[in-house]
């Protein structure tokens, strides 16, 4: 395995593939960011169908505007703004509908940072809440059960956001070792999470 590494933004790589005509690459971006976008929209809107609708519209708008994404900012930052603007447009349109109750709106504030952060997500049922909590518990328990070097590597990467180079410096090991430890940590945690994801989809992975 080559020890040479170069930081290549995976989002930018996928965007380039999409712009070049590979629509499947966009599916990977959707898979990566869908939950974050839906949670964001869910803090602005109560109706679960509308949350879904806005999230879908966000990804459609982003897909259509992808050729305009220059990589100056992070892809998620760009996507985030599209989501907020899309949600605001939907809400503005609905606000002028006299048949819609005020309870429909999560907040009257223009500033999305003040929207309902502590309230349940719009499309939650007790079952989905439990299923999601179970996954969160299993992930954290699996993290705690990791050998110390794997736990440290994946924590520095996923929670502290350090680059491989920085982690290598902190852990006093080669970058290749960092890469291997992070991978093994992910695999170990995934082994515990996968059965729960299978249960949710009703399909064996």
């Amino acid at each position: 395995m080559s020890t040479e590494s170069r930081t290549l933004d995976p989002d930018l790589l996928l965007v380039e593939r999409v712009v070049a005509g590979d629509q499947k690459a966009y599916g990977l971006l959707v898979m990566k960011y869908q939950r974050r976008i839906q949670r964001l929209v869910g803090r602005m809107v109560r109706d679960p169908d509308l949350v879904e609708d806005i999230a879908q519209e966000t990804f459609i708008q982003a897909y259509r505007a992808l050729h305009q994404f220059r990589g100056d900012a992070q892809f998620y930052t760009w996507l985030y703004r599209i989501a907020v603007n899309t949600a605001k447009k939907f809400l503005l349109k609905i606000k002028h509908d006299p048949t819609v109750s005020e309870n429909f709106f999560a907040s009257n504030d223009e500033d999305e940072t003040s929207w309902r952060k502590d309230e349940p997500i719009a499309d939650e049922t007790p079952e989905t809440v439990l299923a999601a909590k179970e996954i969160a518990m299993v992930v954290n328990a699996a993290l705690d059960a990791l050998p110390p070097d794997l736990k440290q590597a994946v924590t520095l990467r996923e929670i502290d956001g350090l680059s491989y180079e920085e982690i290598a410096e902190v852990m006093a090991c080669p970058i290749g070792t960092v890469r291997s430890r992070i991978f093994r940590a992910r695999e170990a945690i995934s082994a515990k999470v996968r059965p729960l994801l299978e249960k949710q989809t009703g399909k064996r992975w």
């Binding site: 080559s2 590494s5 170069r6 930081t7 290549l8 995976p10 790589l13 593939r17 005509g21 590979d22 629509q23 499947k24 690459a25 966009y26 599916g27 990977l28 959707v30 898979m31 990566k32 869908q34 939950r35 974050r36 839906q38 169908d49 879904e52 879908q56 459609i60 897909y63 048949t99 819609v100 499309d123 989905t128 299923a131 999601a132 909590k133 996954i135 969160a136 992930v139 954290n140 994946v154 990467r157 996923e158 929670i159 680059s163 491989y164 890469r179 291997s180 992070i182 991978f183 992910r186 695999e187 995934s190 082994a191 999470v193 994801l197 949710q200 989809t201 009703g202 399909k203 992975w205």
Partner: protein
């Protein structure tokens, strides 16, 4: 072999790719595998779920999350007028393929709800149009018009009837009259103390008063 039925080497490459740490020479092959193999996509998704959940429990996936891409593909296909989700000749957005079965479990449930969502929007639009009709006094084409003084209507517009009464020429609308009669039955003016001019006209009912 990993839990995802792909080689350890492939899985490690996907892990490194997700961190932007994959060497250039391994990039093309890893991307190809990722885009072509459902098991590779599972690994991609699961690694990102793990990372997201470590950062925030709120990002733990629900069943709906796991089926989002399939619904997105359906919507894309509908919006682009394609009968199939496979557009652009590259196989659509490439959901999990056989890995997530849309014919069972939560996949089928969300597919069944897609039509409900469409009808909710149709109903919302219809209500908005009706509110506009009542408020602005636009007329509907009904067979029992009292008088016809109809200017030639351009295509796709409503037809109005004009009646000459004591109070002057009034544009009447049979459907509006129906709605106003129902409104009076409910108790008449409930909101405004002093009806504005157009509302006075809207409540005009000639000989009935």
């Amino acid at each position: 072999m990993t839990r995802f039925s792909i080689s350890s080497e492939s899985a490690e490459h996907i892990s490194a790719l997700s961190d932007g740490q994959l060497p250039q020479e391994q990039l093309a092959a890893t991307l190809e595998a990722l885009l072509a193999e459902p098991n590779a996509k599972q690994a991609w998704l699961t690694y990102h779920v793990v990372g997201d959940v470590l950062r925030s429990a709120e990002l733990a996936p629900t069943p709906s999350d796991l089926d989002f891409l399939a619904r997105f593909e359906q919507r894309w296909a509908q919006e682009n007028g394609s009968g199939s989700v496979r557009t652009h000749g590259v196989g659509g957005f490439g959901d999990m393929g056989g890995a997530v079965d849309h014919g069972t479990g939560f996949g089928a449930q969300h597919s069944a709800n897609a039509g409900v969502l469409r009808w909710r929007w149709v109903a919302a639009v219809a209500c908005t149009v009706l509110a506009g009709v009542v408020g602005l006094g636009l007329s509907w084409d009904t067979p029992d018009a009292r008088q016809a003084s109809v200017a030639p209507a351009p295509e796709n517009t409503q037809t109005l009837w004009v009646s000459s009464e004591e109070q002057g020429v009034m544009v009447r609308d049979a459907r509006l009259d129906e709605l106003l009669a129902a409104h009076r039955q409910q108790g008449g003016h409930s909101v405004l103390q002093m009806p504005a001019g157009f509302l006075r006209n809207a409540t005009y009912d000639g000989a009935a008063r």
